[in-house]
Subunit: 245 residues, 2 copies
DNA sequence: TCACGCTCTATTGTAGACAGTAGTCAGATG
DNA sequence: CATCTGACTACTGTCTACAATAGAGCGTGA
Protein backbone atom coordinates (compact mmCIF):
# COMPACT_ATOMS: atom_id res chain seq x y z
CA UNK A 1 0.00 0.00 0.00
CA UNK A 2 3.02 2.23 0.20
CA UNK A 3 6.30 3.09 -1.44
CA UNK A 4 6.69 -0.34 -2.95
CA UNK A 5 4.43 0.72 -5.78
CA UNK A 6 6.29 3.93 -6.51
CA UNK A 7 6.39 4.39 -10.25
CA UNK A 8 6.86 0.68 -10.68
CA UNK A 9 10.30 0.89 -9.12
CA UNK A 10 10.81 -1.68 -6.42
CA UNK A 11 12.90 -0.02 -3.77
CA UNK A 12 14.78 -2.70 -1.95
CA UNK A 13 16.90 -0.49 0.23
CA UNK A 14 15.08 2.71 0.97
CA UNK A 15 16.69 5.79 2.44
CA UNK A 16 15.89 5.73 6.14
CA UNK A 17 14.37 9.21 5.95
CA UNK A 18 14.23 10.68 9.43
CA UNK A 19 10.63 11.73 8.87
CA UNK A 20 9.51 8.17 8.24
CA UNK A 21 11.54 6.87 11.16
CA UNK A 22 10.00 9.51 13.37
CA UNK A 23 6.46 8.84 12.20
CA UNK A 24 6.89 5.10 12.66
CA UNK A 25 8.27 5.59 16.15
CA UNK A 26 5.48 7.98 17.07
CA UNK A 27 2.83 5.68 15.67
CA UNK A 28 4.21 2.85 17.73
CA UNK A 29 4.28 5.00 20.84
CA UNK A 30 0.67 5.96 20.35
CA UNK A 31 -0.70 2.54 19.45
CA UNK A 32 1.23 0.85 22.20
CA UNK A 33 -0.39 3.12 24.74
CA UNK A 34 2.81 4.88 25.72
CA UNK A 35 1.05 8.03 24.63
CA UNK A 36 -2.62 8.01 25.48
CA UNK A 37 -5.48 9.93 23.85
CA UNK A 38 -5.54 13.47 25.12
CA UNK A 39 -1.83 13.56 25.95
CA UNK A 40 -0.03 16.60 24.66
CA UNK A 41 2.67 16.00 22.11
CA UNK A 42 5.32 18.64 22.58
CA UNK A 43 7.73 18.97 19.71
CA UNK A 44 10.87 19.83 21.64
CA UNK A 45 10.40 16.99 24.06
CA UNK A 46 10.09 14.47 21.24
CA UNK A 47 13.05 15.80 19.31
CA UNK A 48 15.37 14.97 22.18
CA UNK A 49 13.56 11.69 22.82
CA UNK A 50 13.72 10.49 19.21
CA UNK A 51 16.96 12.16 18.27
CA UNK A 52 15.61 13.97 15.24
CA UNK A 53 15.27 17.62 14.52
CA UNK A 54 12.02 19.51 14.48
CA UNK A 55 11.30 19.72 10.74
CA UNK A 56 11.15 15.95 10.19
CA UNK A 57 9.24 15.61 13.43
CA UNK A 58 6.69 18.13 12.23
CA UNK A 59 6.30 16.19 9.00
CA UNK A 60 5.76 13.05 11.02
CA UNK A 61 3.11 14.81 13.08
CA UNK A 62 1.34 15.93 9.95
CA UNK A 63 1.38 12.38 8.66
CA UNK A 64 -0.12 11.09 11.89
CA UNK A 65 -2.68 13.86 11.76
CA UNK A 66 -3.92 12.59 8.42
CA UNK A 67 -4.02 9.10 9.82
CA UNK A 68 -6.23 10.47 12.55
CA UNK A 69 -3.92 9.62 15.40
CA UNK A 70 -3.15 13.17 16.48
CA UNK A 71 -4.91 16.50 16.09
CA UNK A 72 -3.07 19.78 15.82
CA UNK A 73 -4.51 22.98 17.21
CA UNK A 74 -3.18 25.95 15.27
CA UNK A 75 -0.89 27.62 17.75
CA UNK A 76 -1.28 25.35 20.69
CA UNK A 77 0.47 22.19 19.70
CA UNK A 78 -0.57 18.65 19.02
CA UNK A 79 -2.57 16.20 21.09
CA UNK A 80 -3.09 12.48 20.70
CA UNK A 81 -6.60 12.28 19.26
CA UNK A 82 -9.06 12.20 22.13
CA UNK A 83 -11.61 9.52 21.37
CA UNK A 84 -15.24 10.27 21.99
CA UNK A 85 -18.19 7.94 21.71
CA UNK A 86 -19.09 9.64 18.47
CA UNK A 87 -15.59 8.97 17.16
CA UNK A 88 -15.97 5.27 17.83
CA UNK A 89 -19.28 5.38 16.00
CA UNK A 90 -17.65 7.07 13.02
CA UNK A 91 -14.65 4.77 12.91
CA UNK A 92 -16.64 1.57 13.16
CA UNK A 93 -19.38 2.49 10.72
CA UNK A 94 -17.05 3.79 8.07
CA UNK A 95 -14.70 0.86 8.49
CA UNK A 96 -17.58 -1.54 7.93
CA UNK A 97 -18.74 0.39 4.91
CA UNK A 98 -15.33 0.36 3.28
CA UNK A 99 -14.69 -3.27 4.05
CA UNK A 100 -18.03 -4.16 2.54
CA UNK A 101 -17.25 -2.22 -0.58
CA UNK A 102 -13.88 -3.90 -0.88
CA UNK A 103 -15.41 -7.34 -0.60
CA UNK A 104 -18.02 -6.52 -3.20
CA UNK A 105 -15.24 -5.47 -5.51
CA UNK A 106 -12.73 -8.14 -4.78
CA UNK A 107 -14.21 -11.28 -3.46
CA UNK A 108 -14.73 -13.55 -6.30
CA UNK A 109 -10.96 -13.14 -6.37
CA UNK A 110 -9.57 -12.76 -9.85
CA UNK A 111 -6.37 -14.69 -9.58
CA UNK A 112 -5.38 -17.01 -6.75
CA UNK A 113 -1.99 -15.47 -6.07
CA UNK A 114 -3.70 -12.28 -4.92
CA UNK A 115 -4.69 -14.22 -1.85
CA UNK A 116 -1.12 -14.72 -0.74
CA UNK A 117 -0.91 -11.58 1.41
CA UNK A 118 -4.09 -12.65 3.15
CA UNK A 119 -2.79 -16.15 3.73
CA UNK A 120 0.51 -14.78 5.00
CA UNK A 121 -1.25 -12.54 7.48
CA UNK A 122 -3.34 -15.48 8.65
CA UNK A 123 -0.27 -17.62 9.22
CA UNK A 124 1.38 -14.85 11.23
CA UNK A 125 -1.80 -14.43 13.23
CA UNK A 126 -2.02 -18.11 14.03
CA UNK A 127 1.59 -18.24 15.08
CA UNK A 128 1.00 -15.29 17.40
CA UNK A 129 -2.12 -16.93 18.78
CA UNK A 130 -0.25 -20.11 19.56
CA UNK A 131 2.46 -18.12 21.25
CA UNK A 132 -0.13 -16.27 23.30
CA UNK A 133 1.17 -12.90 22.11
CA UNK A 134 -1.95 -10.83 22.47
CA UNK A 135 -0.61 -7.63 20.96
CA UNK A 136 0.73 -9.47 17.93
CA UNK A 137 -2.62 -11.16 17.40
CA UNK A 138 -4.29 -7.78 17.33
CA UNK A 139 -1.73 -6.34 14.94
CA UNK A 140 -1.85 -9.30 12.58
CA UNK A 141 -5.61 -9.26 12.75
CA UNK A 142 -5.58 -5.75 11.36
CA UNK A 143 -3.01 -6.76 8.77
CA UNK A 144 -5.32 -9.59 7.74
CA UNK A 145 -8.28 -7.29 7.25
CA UNK A 146 -6.11 -4.81 5.42
CA UNK A 147 -5.01 -7.57 3.09
CA UNK A 148 -8.63 -8.55 2.52
CA UNK A 149 -9.47 -4.98 1.64
CA UNK A 150 -6.51 -5.01 -0.72
CA UNK A 151 -8.31 -7.65 -2.76
CA UNK A 152 -10.57 -4.89 -3.99
CA UNK A 153 -7.74 -3.51 -6.09
CA UNK A 154 -8.74 -0.03 -5.02
CA UNK A 155 -5.83 1.96 -3.65
CA UNK A 156 -7.82 4.91 -2.34
CA UNK A 157 -10.18 2.58 -0.58
CA UNK A 158 -7.33 0.67 1.00
CA UNK A 159 -5.62 3.85 2.15
CA UNK A 160 -8.75 5.16 3.81
CA UNK A 161 -9.31 1.78 5.41
CA UNK A 162 -5.79 1.74 6.75
CA UNK A 163 -6.26 5.07 8.51
CA UNK A 164 -9.46 3.83 10.11
CA UNK A 165 -7.78 0.61 11.18
CA UNK A 166 -5.10 2.64 12.92
CA UNK A 167 -7.69 4.69 14.74
CA UNK A 168 -9.43 1.48 15.69
CA UNK A 169 -6.20 0.24 17.22
CA UNK A 170 -5.99 3.50 19.09
CA UNK A 171 -9.43 2.80 20.52
CA UNK A 172 -8.50 -0.71 21.49
CA UNK A 173 -5.57 0.59 23.44
CA UNK A 174 -8.05 2.39 25.64
CA UNK A 175 -9.30 -0.70 27.37
CA UNK A 176 -6.29 -2.94 27.12
CA UNK A 177 -6.49 -3.59 30.81
CA UNK A 178 -10.22 -4.02 31.03
CA UNK A 179 -10.23 -6.34 28.05
CA UNK A 180 -10.76 -9.94 28.83
CA UNK A 181 -11.03 -11.57 25.46
CA UNK A 182 -7.68 -13.12 26.09
CA UNK A 183 -9.27 -16.50 26.23
CA UNK A 184 -10.41 -15.86 22.69
CA UNK A 185 -7.02 -15.97 20.98
CA UNK A 186 -7.59 -19.37 19.41
CA UNK A 187 -11.16 -18.50 18.52
CA UNK A 188 -9.94 -15.32 16.94
CA UNK A 189 -7.55 -17.22 14.70
CA UNK A 190 -10.28 -19.69 13.83
CA UNK A 191 -12.64 -16.92 12.77
CA UNK A 192 -10.03 -15.46 10.51
CA UNK A 193 -9.28 -18.85 9.00
CA UNK A 194 -12.97 -19.30 8.27
CA UNK A 195 -12.99 -15.91 6.65
CA UNK A 196 -10.16 -16.90 4.35
CA UNK A 197 -11.99 -20.09 3.51
CA UNK A 198 -15.15 -18.39 2.30
CA UNK A 199 -13.06 -15.89 0.37
CA UNK A 200 -11.17 -18.67 -1.34
CA UNK A 201 -14.49 -20.29 -2.15
CA UNK A 202 -15.46 -17.07 -3.88
CA UNK A 203 -18.64 -16.71 -1.86
CA UNK A 204 -19.21 -13.01 -1.58
CA UNK A 205 -22.34 -13.19 0.54
CA UNK A 206 -20.79 -15.63 2.97
CA UNK A 207 -17.77 -13.35 3.27
CA UNK A 208 -19.93 -10.37 4.06
CA UNK A 209 -21.89 -12.37 6.56
CA UNK A 210 -18.73 -13.63 8.22
CA UNK A 211 -17.39 -10.10 8.46
CA UNK A 212 -20.58 -8.82 9.99
CA UNK A 213 -20.63 -11.57 12.57
CA UNK A 214 -16.95 -11.30 13.29
CA UNK A 215 -17.04 -7.58 14.00
CA UNK A 216 -15.68 -6.18 17.19
CA UNK A 217 -19.09 -5.60 18.61
CA UNK A 218 -18.37 -7.45 21.80
CA UNK A 219 -15.39 -5.39 22.70
CA UNK A 220 -16.99 -2.17 21.53
CA UNK A 221 -19.48 -2.13 24.33
CA UNK A 222 -16.67 -2.19 26.84
CA UNK A 223 -14.81 0.65 25.22
CA UNK A 224 -17.73 2.93 24.71
CA UNK A 225 -18.87 2.92 28.28
CA UNK A 226 -15.78 4.73 29.44
CA UNK A 227 -16.13 7.52 26.91
CA UNK A 228 -17.84 10.85 26.77
CA UNK A 229 -18.68 12.85 23.70
CA UNK A 230 -21.89 11.09 22.84
CA UNK A 231 -24.16 12.51 20.18
CA UNK A 232 -27.74 11.60 19.34
CA UNK A 233 -26.42 9.68 16.37
CA UNK A 234 -23.84 7.72 18.30
CA UNK A 235 -26.33 6.90 21.05
CA UNK A 236 -28.82 5.64 18.51
CA UNK A 237 -26.16 3.54 16.81
CA UNK A 238 -25.06 2.06 20.10
CA UNK A 239 -28.60 1.19 21.06
CA UNK A 240 -29.22 -0.60 17.79
CA UNK A 241 -25.91 -2.39 18.15
CA UNK A 242 -26.86 -3.73 21.56
CA UNK A 243 -30.28 -4.82 20.44
CA UNK A 244 -29.16 -6.59 17.28
CA UNK A 245 -25.98 -8.06 18.70
CA UNK B 1 -14.85 20.02 7.64
CA UNK B 2 -11.84 21.91 8.87
CA UNK B 3 -10.54 24.04 11.66
CA UNK B 4 -13.92 25.48 12.44
CA UNK B 5 -14.75 22.39 14.43
CA UNK B 6 -11.51 22.42 16.38
CA UNK B 7 -12.34 21.68 19.99
CA UNK B 8 -15.53 23.62 19.65
CA UNK B 9 -13.62 26.86 19.34
CA UNK B 10 -14.87 28.97 16.49
CA UNK B 11 -11.84 30.76 15.13
CA UNK B 12 -13.19 33.83 13.44
CA UNK B 13 -9.90 35.44 12.61
CA UNK B 14 -7.41 32.70 12.11
CA UNK B 15 -3.71 33.29 11.95
CA UNK B 16 -2.87 33.36 8.26
CA UNK B 17 -0.36 30.57 8.73
CA UNK B 18 1.96 30.57 5.76
CA UNK B 19 1.45 26.83 5.37
CA UNK B 20 -2.27 27.24 4.86
CA UNK B 21 -1.80 30.16 2.52
CA UNK B 22 0.66 28.14 0.53
CA UNK B 23 -1.52 25.05 0.38
CA UNK B 24 -4.53 27.11 -0.68
CA UNK B 25 -2.53 28.80 -3.39
CA UNK B 26 -1.11 25.54 -4.61
CA UNK B 27 -4.51 23.88 -4.61
CA UNK B 28 -5.88 26.70 -6.67
CA UNK B 29 -2.98 26.48 -9.09
CA UNK B 30 -3.56 22.78 -9.54
CA UNK B 31 -7.33 22.83 -9.81
CA UNK B 32 -7.28 25.80 -12.14
CA UNK B 33 -5.06 23.90 -14.52
CA UNK B 34 -2.08 26.20 -14.10
CA UNK B 35 -0.24 23.09 -12.98
CA UNK B 36 -1.27 20.02 -14.90
CA UNK B 37 -1.08 16.36 -13.86
CA UNK B 38 2.43 15.07 -14.31
CA UNK B 39 4.04 18.49 -13.91
CA UNK B 40 6.95 18.53 -11.52
CA UNK B 41 6.54 20.67 -8.45
CA UNK B 42 9.95 22.03 -7.55
CA UNK B 43 10.18 23.47 -4.08
CA UNK B 44 12.62 26.27 -4.70
CA UNK B 45 10.72 27.52 -7.69
CA UNK B 46 7.51 27.74 -5.69
CA UNK B 47 9.09 29.43 -2.71
CA UNK B 48 10.07 32.39 -4.85
CA UNK B 49 6.76 32.27 -6.68
CA UNK B 50 4.62 32.22 -3.54
CA UNK B 51 6.92 34.20 -1.32
CA UNK B 52 7.10 31.65 1.47
CA UNK B 53 10.00 29.69 2.80
CA UNK B 54 10.54 26.01 2.21
CA UNK B 55 9.30 24.54 5.51
CA UNK B 56 5.75 25.87 5.17
CA UNK B 57 5.79 24.95 1.51
CA UNK B 58 6.78 21.41 2.36
CA UNK B 59 3.92 21.21 4.84
CA UNK B 60 1.60 22.45 2.14
CA UNK B 61 2.87 19.77 -0.23
CA UNK B 62 2.28 17.11 2.38
CA UNK B 63 -1.25 18.36 2.86
CA UNK B 64 -1.92 18.23 -0.87
CA UNK B 65 -0.39 14.78 -0.98
CA UNK B 66 -2.97 13.54 1.50
CA UNK B 67 -5.66 15.20 -0.56
CA UNK B 68 -4.38 13.21 -3.48
CA UNK B 69 -3.45 16.19 -5.60
CA UNK B 70 0.29 15.59 -5.64
CA UNK B 71 2.48 12.54 -5.14
CA UNK B 72 5.93 12.71 -3.65
CA UNK B 73 8.68 10.34 -4.71
CA UNK B 74 11.20 9.85 -1.91
CA UNK B 75 14.23 11.68 -3.13
CA UNK B 76 12.96 12.90 -6.43
CA UNK B 77 10.51 15.56 -5.59
CA UNK B 78 6.80 16.00 -6.11
CA UNK B 79 4.60 15.89 -9.17
CA UNK B 80 0.98 16.80 -9.68
CA UNK B 81 -0.85 13.47 -9.47
CA UNK B 82 -0.90 11.90 -12.92
CA UNK B 83 -4.40 10.65 -13.55
CA UNK B 84 -4.85 7.25 -15.11
CA UNK B 85 -8.04 5.60 -16.21
CA UNK B 86 -7.87 3.42 -13.14
CA UNK B 87 -7.61 6.53 -10.97
CA UNK B 88 -10.82 7.90 -12.46
CA UNK B 89 -12.47 4.58 -11.77
CA UNK B 90 -11.32 4.69 -8.15
CA UNK B 91 -12.30 8.28 -7.59
CA UNK B 92 -15.76 7.94 -9.07
CA UNK B 93 -16.68 4.64 -7.46
CA UNK B 94 -15.52 5.63 -4.01
CA UNK B 95 -17.14 9.02 -4.26
CA UNK B 96 -20.45 7.41 -5.12
CA UNK B 97 -20.09 4.95 -2.28
CA UNK B 98 -19.40 7.65 0.29
CA UNK B 99 -22.15 9.90 -0.96
CA UNK B 100 -24.59 7.04 -0.78
CA UNK B 101 -23.55 6.27 2.76
CA UNK B 102 -23.92 9.91 3.74
CA UNK B 103 -27.43 10.08 2.33
CA UNK B 104 -28.43 6.91 4.10
CA UNK B 105 -27.22 8.45 7.33
CA UNK B 106 -28.45 11.95 6.87
CA UNK B 107 -31.35 12.25 4.56
CA UNK B 108 -34.41 12.19 6.61
CA UNK B 109 -32.77 15.32 7.91
CA UNK B 110 -32.97 15.71 11.65
CA UNK B 111 -33.44 19.40 11.98
CA UNK B 112 -34.27 21.82 9.19
CA UNK B 113 -31.50 24.29 9.90
CA UNK B 114 -28.94 21.66 8.95
CA UNK B 115 -30.06 22.22 5.38
CA UNK B 116 -28.91 25.80 5.36
CA UNK B 117 -25.41 25.08 4.05
CA UNK B 118 -26.95 23.07 1.24
CA UNK B 119 -29.39 25.81 0.39
CA UNK B 120 -26.62 28.40 0.50
CA UNK B 121 -24.52 26.38 -1.91
CA UNK B 122 -27.48 26.02 -4.23
CA UNK B 123 -28.11 29.76 -4.24
CA UNK B 124 -24.47 30.42 -5.05
CA UNK B 125 -24.60 27.84 -7.79
CA UNK B 126 -27.69 29.37 -9.34
CA UNK B 127 -26.19 32.84 -9.26
CA UNK B 128 -23.09 31.52 -10.99
CA UNK B 129 -25.21 29.74 -13.56
CA UNK B 130 -27.12 32.90 -14.35
CA UNK B 131 -23.86 34.78 -14.69
CA UNK B 132 -22.52 32.12 -17.02
CA UNK B 133 -19.47 31.60 -14.84
CA UNK B 134 -18.63 28.04 -15.72
CA UNK B 135 -15.79 27.57 -13.25
CA UNK B 136 -17.87 28.94 -10.40
CA UNK B 137 -20.72 26.59 -11.27
CA UNK B 138 -18.36 23.66 -11.05
CA UNK B 139 -16.90 24.82 -7.74
CA UNK B 140 -20.30 25.52 -6.18
CA UNK B 141 -21.53 22.20 -7.48
CA UNK B 142 -18.86 20.47 -5.48
CA UNK B 143 -19.63 22.64 -2.49
CA UNK B 144 -23.27 21.61 -2.79
CA UNK B 145 -22.44 17.92 -2.79
CA UNK B 146 -20.03 18.41 0.08
CA UNK B 147 -22.80 20.09 2.04
CA UNK B 148 -25.13 17.20 1.26
CA UNK B 149 -22.54 14.77 2.52
CA UNK B 150 -22.24 16.92 5.62
CA UNK B 151 -25.84 16.05 6.46
CA UNK B 152 -24.58 12.63 7.46
CA UNK B 153 -23.02 14.11 10.55
CA UNK B 154 -19.96 11.97 9.95
CA UNK B 155 -16.74 13.95 9.96
CA UNK B 156 -14.44 11.21 8.73
CA UNK B 157 -16.80 10.46 5.90
CA UNK B 158 -16.99 14.11 4.93
CA UNK B 159 -13.22 14.50 5.02
CA UNK B 160 -12.68 11.51 2.76
CA UNK B 161 -15.36 12.78 0.43
CA UNK B 162 -13.73 16.18 0.26
CA UNK B 163 -10.42 14.68 -0.85
CA UNK B 164 -12.16 12.71 -3.56
CA UNK B 165 -14.08 15.76 -4.70
CA UNK B 166 -10.80 17.62 -5.08
CA UNK B 167 -9.35 14.82 -7.16
CA UNK B 168 -12.51 14.85 -9.23
CA UNK B 169 -11.98 18.53 -9.91
CA UNK B 170 -8.45 17.72 -10.92
CA UNK B 171 -9.83 15.26 -13.45
CA UNK B 172 -12.31 17.78 -14.77
CA UNK B 173 -9.50 20.20 -15.41
CA UNK B 174 -8.13 17.69 -17.87
CA UNK B 175 -10.75 18.27 -20.48
CA UNK B 176 -11.75 21.81 -19.78
CA UNK B 177 -11.24 22.71 -23.39
CA UNK B 178 -12.87 19.67 -24.88
CA UNK B 179 -15.84 20.05 -22.58
CA UNK B 180 -18.98 21.29 -24.20
CA UNK B 181 -21.55 21.04 -21.48
CA UNK B 182 -21.59 24.77 -21.32
CA UNK B 183 -25.12 24.77 -22.60
CA UNK B 184 -26.02 22.76 -19.54
CA UNK B 185 -25.44 25.45 -16.93
CA UNK B 186 -29.11 26.06 -16.32
CA UNK B 187 -29.89 22.37 -16.41
CA UNK B 188 -27.13 21.78 -13.92
CA UNK B 189 -28.65 24.25 -11.51
CA UNK B 190 -32.07 22.72 -12.02
CA UNK B 191 -30.79 19.24 -11.20
CA UNK B 192 -29.25 20.50 -7.98
CA UNK B 193 -32.46 22.27 -7.03
CA UNK B 194 -34.39 19.07 -7.59
CA UNK B 195 -31.88 17.30 -5.39
CA UNK B 196 -32.47 19.75 -2.59
CA UNK B 197 -36.21 19.34 -3.03
CA UNK B 198 -36.19 15.57 -2.51
CA UNK B 199 -33.84 15.97 0.43
CA UNK B 200 -36.15 18.49 2.03
CA UNK B 201 -38.99 16.09 1.45
CA UNK B 202 -37.04 13.52 3.41
CA UNK B 203 -37.24 10.97 0.64
CA UNK B 204 -34.08 8.93 0.94
CA UNK B 205 -34.70 6.66 -2.03
CA UNK B 206 -35.55 9.54 -4.30
CA UNK B 207 -32.37 11.31 -3.21
CA UNK B 208 -30.25 8.30 -3.99
CA UNK B 209 -31.95 7.91 -7.34
CA UNK B 210 -31.43 11.57 -8.16
CA UNK B 211 -27.77 11.31 -7.27
CA UNK B 212 -27.28 8.24 -9.41
CA UNK B 213 -28.95 9.88 -12.39
CA UNK B 214 -27.19 13.15 -11.87
CA UNK B 215 -23.71 11.65 -11.83
CA UNK B 216 -21.02 12.88 -14.09
CA UNK B 217 -21.29 9.92 -16.37
CA UNK B 218 -21.68 11.97 -19.49
CA UNK B 219 -18.51 13.92 -19.00
CA UNK B 220 -16.59 10.91 -17.74
CA UNK B 221 -16.56 9.27 -21.10
CA UNK B 222 -14.86 12.30 -22.58
CA UNK B 223 -12.18 12.37 -19.91
CA UNK B 224 -11.37 8.72 -19.88
CA UNK B 225 -10.68 8.45 -23.56
CA UNK B 226 -7.64 10.64 -23.31
CA UNK B 227 -6.08 8.63 -20.50
CA UNK B 228 -3.77 5.67 -20.25
CA UNK B 229 -3.27 3.45 -17.25
CA UNK B 230 -6.24 1.21 -17.79
CA UNK B 231 -6.63 -1.94 -15.73
CA UNK B 232 -8.96 -4.89 -16.22
CA UNK B 233 -11.08 -3.48 -13.45
CA UNK B 234 -11.30 0.00 -14.84
CA UNK B 235 -12.06 -1.30 -18.31
CA UNK B 236 -14.84 -3.45 -16.98
CA UNK B 237 -16.27 -0.56 -15.01
CA UNK B 238 -16.17 1.69 -18.01
CA UNK B 239 -17.90 -0.86 -20.19
CA UNK B 240 -20.72 -1.31 -17.70
CA UNK B 241 -21.01 2.42 -17.37
CA UNK B 242 -21.47 2.86 -21.08
CA UNK B 243 -24.01 0.08 -21.34
CA UNK B 244 -26.14 1.17 -18.39
CA UNK B 245 -25.88 4.89 -19.00
C1' DT C 1 -11.58 39.98 48.30
C1' DC C 2 -12.19 39.97 43.46
C1' DA C 3 -11.31 41.46 38.85
C1' DC C 4 -8.38 43.32 35.57
C1' DG C 5 -4.04 43.98 33.21
C1' DC C 6 0.73 42.97 32.63
C1' DT C 7 4.85 40.41 32.18
C1' DC C 8 7.15 36.21 31.47
C1' DT C 9 7.85 31.70 29.87
C1' DA C 10 7.02 27.82 27.11
C1' DT C 11 6.03 26.40 22.61
C1' DT C 12 5.10 26.84 17.89
C1' DG C 13 5.77 29.08 13.09
C1' DT C 14 9.25 30.53 9.91
C1' DA C 15 13.65 31.49 7.77
C1' DG C 16 18.07 30.55 5.84
C1' DA C 17 22.02 27.42 5.29
C1' DC C 18 24.36 23.00 4.78
C1' DA C 19 24.90 18.23 3.41
C1' DG C 20 23.79 14.25 0.76
C1' DT C 21 21.71 11.94 -3.11
C1' DA C 22 19.73 11.07 -7.73
C1' DG C 23 19.75 12.14 -12.47
C1' DT C 24 22.45 13.82 -16.46
C1' DC C 25 25.88 14.67 -19.65
C1' DA C 26 30.40 14.36 -21.42
C1' DG C 27 34.46 11.82 -22.13
C1' DA C 28 37.19 7.75 -22.54
C1' DT C 29 37.76 2.95 -23.70
C1' DG C 30 36.44 -1.52 -25.67
C1' DC D 1 30.07 3.10 -32.82
C1' DA D 2 28.29 1.45 -28.43
C1' DT D 3 28.97 1.20 -23.51
C1' DC D 4 30.70 2.20 -19.31
C1' DT D 5 32.56 5.38 -15.99
C1' DG D 6 33.31 9.67 -14.08
C1' DA D 7 32.16 14.35 -12.51
C1' DC D 8 28.67 17.86 -12.42
C1' DT D 9 24.23 19.95 -11.37
C1' DA D 10 19.97 20.40 -9.34
C1' DC D 11 17.15 19.11 -6.01
C1' DT D 12 15.58 17.33 -1.65
C1' DG D 13 16.34 16.08 3.43
C1' DT D 14 17.93 17.96 7.56
C1' DC D 15 19.64 21.16 10.91
C1' DT D 16 20.24 25.44 13.79
C1' DA D 17 18.58 29.82 14.87
C1' DC D 18 15.19 33.55 15.17
C1' DA D 19 10.53 35.64 15.58
C1' DA D 20 5.91 35.61 17.14
C1' DT D 21 2.07 33.98 19.73
C1' DA D 22 -0.77 31.95 23.47
C1' DG D 23 -1.29 30.72 28.23
C1' DA D 24 -0.09 31.14 33.12
C1' DG D 25 1.08 33.45 37.03
C1' DC D 26 1.57 37.53 39.63
C1' DG D 27 0.81 42.07 41.03
C1' DT D 28 -2.10 46.13 41.44
C1' DG D 29 -6.24 48.63 41.86
C1' DA D 30 -11.08 49.09 43.04
Amino acid sequence: MDGATNAGVARIVGPPSMSKLASDALRTMILSGELRPGDRVVENRLTVQLGVSRPPLREALKELEYEGLVVQHPRRGAVVTPITQHDVYEIVTMREELETMAVRLGVPVRSPELLRPVADALRALERAAEGGDEAAVTAHGFAFHLAVVGLGGHRRLADAYRALALQMQLCMGLNRRARKDREDLAGNAARHRELLRVIEAGDQDATLAALAAHGHRTFLAEIVDGLGGATPRSREWLRELRENG
